[in-house]
């Protein structure tokens, strides 16, 4: 659990895209983003107040979050000067970088001396249990994709935001490093040891109010041979009541697997639902989330209308047209 709110470290980002994680935090949890810290030459700008460490501390920031990708896979000396100062000012540090904060002896030494925490969100910080399969109270929704990276996190985030707006009880449950940094909490599922994957998702989505929805961030795809085991653990550990099918219609093959075709949405529906019913016999497929970013307005609208007619399910692109239809489907259950 990362202490919020954050000061967002943009470092010497070469462009706006490099600050993707910081942008996600600002878009989805603006209340977590007190300000931004930019070094000389930084080409990213979130439109937040530029703050020194002292100013951010006074404004209540608890954690400096590295919201930018680093160059060349190393934490540079220029960055380190700021990170060390931040620890000495009383900030914890949080990072989703491949090269871990905990592998930098100087940062570890200063963190120990100052009593601050280093959060590497790619690495589990909890000893998860083995899943017990016992039915939990409250409701859970999971996005399952025809492929990896088709918008599953975005879909869950957008549904969570819409549900809060409507006064429904909901919690976004992060299962990847971006989601964990955005919300300050979650399970880095791709780094969990095999035997504990499903148990980590049970831990992440415990008993709750009968009318509360956990919106679980999906990962991988049952049809992506590199990561299908992770998806399977989400389906059985998550015990979903509702599945959202997630799809990107213009993709020509499975991500990173040039000889593998995407399954049809019908095949995804039938495969995922049958497996989900092992853990929750009442599970239903309730809607379709389509990433239409590579389609014209006209094509996207026509595609979604045809999908709705063909499959008898509400279909939308939550980024383009809002998550309302998907939330309506949950509300109707």
């Amino acid at each position: 659990m990362i202490e919020t709110p954050y000061l967002l470290f943009l470092g010497d980002a070469p462009d706006q895209l490099a600050a993707k994680v910081a942008i996600g935090i600002k878009d989805w949890r603006p209340e977590n983003a007190v300000g931004q810290y930019r070094m000389d030459g930084c080409k990213a700008d979130l439109g937040l107040t530029d703050m020194s460490l002292t100013e951010a501390k006074e404004a209540g920031a608890k954690t400096l979050v590295i919201g930018v990708a680093n160059r060349g896979g190393v934490i540079s000396q220029e960055w380190k000067k700021v990170l060390v100062m931040a620890l000495e000012e009383g900030f914890d540090l949080a990072s989703g970088l491949h090269n871990l904060l905990r592998d930098e002896p100087d940062l570890v030494a200063v963190a120990e001396a100052t009593g601050r925490k280093l959060h590497d969100v790619r690495v589990p910080e909890v000893d998860y249990p083995i899943a017990n399969g016992i039915k939990r109270k409250g409701k859970r929704c999971l996005g399952v994709g025809t492929d990896c990276s088709v918008g599953k996190m975005y879909t869950a985030m957008a549904m969570d935001a819409e549900m809060r707006k409507r006064g429904m009880k909901s919690t976004f449950r992060a299962t990847g490093q971006t989601g964990i940094l955005i919300t300050g909490d979650g399970v880095p599922l791709d780094a969990v040891i095999a035997d504990f994957m499903a148990g980590s998702i049970e831990w992440l989505t415990p008993d709750n109010d009968d009318d509360h929805w956990d919106l679980i961030e999906g990962q991988g795809s049952l049809f992506h041979v590199s990561f299908s085991g992770v998806t399977m653990a989400l389906i059985h550990g998550g015990q979903p009541d509702a599945l959202i099918l997630c799809h990107e219609p213009t993709r020509e093959h499975m991500r990173g697997l040039p000889t593998y075709q995407l399954p049809s949405l019908e095949t995804l529906r039938d495969t995922a639902l049958a497996l989900a019913k092992v853990a929750n016999p009442d599970c239903q497929v309730v809607g379709i989330s389509v990433n239409t970013q590579h389609m014209s307005d006209e094509d996207a609208t026509a595609y979604l209308a045809k999908l709705e007619a063909d499959m008898g399910l509400p279909a939308t692109d939550p980024f383009r047209f809002g998550a309302g239809k998907l939330v309506d489907a949950l509300a109707a259950m």
Copy 2:
């Protein structure tokens, strides 16, 4: 990779059952078992020659394998005396115990001083790749179960033995600690990090001769919510050409999950085959392996005959009736 042959350490085993791992080594790889080492009060006996460390060394043993479960989850001082002597005599140590050899500072210190290796087969020793899904040469067979612990390892071992007897090219591929200790090699899949599960199985079953069969040890079950992700990774990383359905007909519920029923063999067949075809469109279900240990001879025979008639597949209990029918099915492909 553990150096063979072994001296099998039976310690102060309270009964024969406690030496299960040693029995597996002696049954399946007698050529790996030079002798047994028993301490005072040992109640297990494999019928191998009792040897001192020096005698075993002279007989060519390279590794002392802890073939017995320890009491109370700690490696006792009595055991340690022998283990330290073994390191000093030039043996590596190998263990599948939950408490790791590497967590014992005295064993680590002696191993470093003597240049010997400590193999904890529950812990991966390789940095596995992420699965790439590329089709590999040679053939692969995987056992998939209606539940955990229904005889998947035994089935693969028995088929491998039968195939060697017939002069067919085959390799048993261990994915659990017992199998790894028996053969000296394998992947401890339940301890692999999620993102690398399928890749570890690709690594375990590389390109091979066109007429060579890898007999991959199955794990878990697609229908066991605690471990289904592990099974999924085996199906997609293993790219099987042939699936063997494994079943124990008298079980009343899924192992450790009292409210979960076992699926039918038809459901297992259809679910596993559809998922396996994602990685290998030519995959076939070729036979059924039934653990009939809780059935009379008459009941077992009748049950298997009915299964064969109902499902149109060869069905046998490889422990009771041999693995011949299953190997016939592979040979006919």
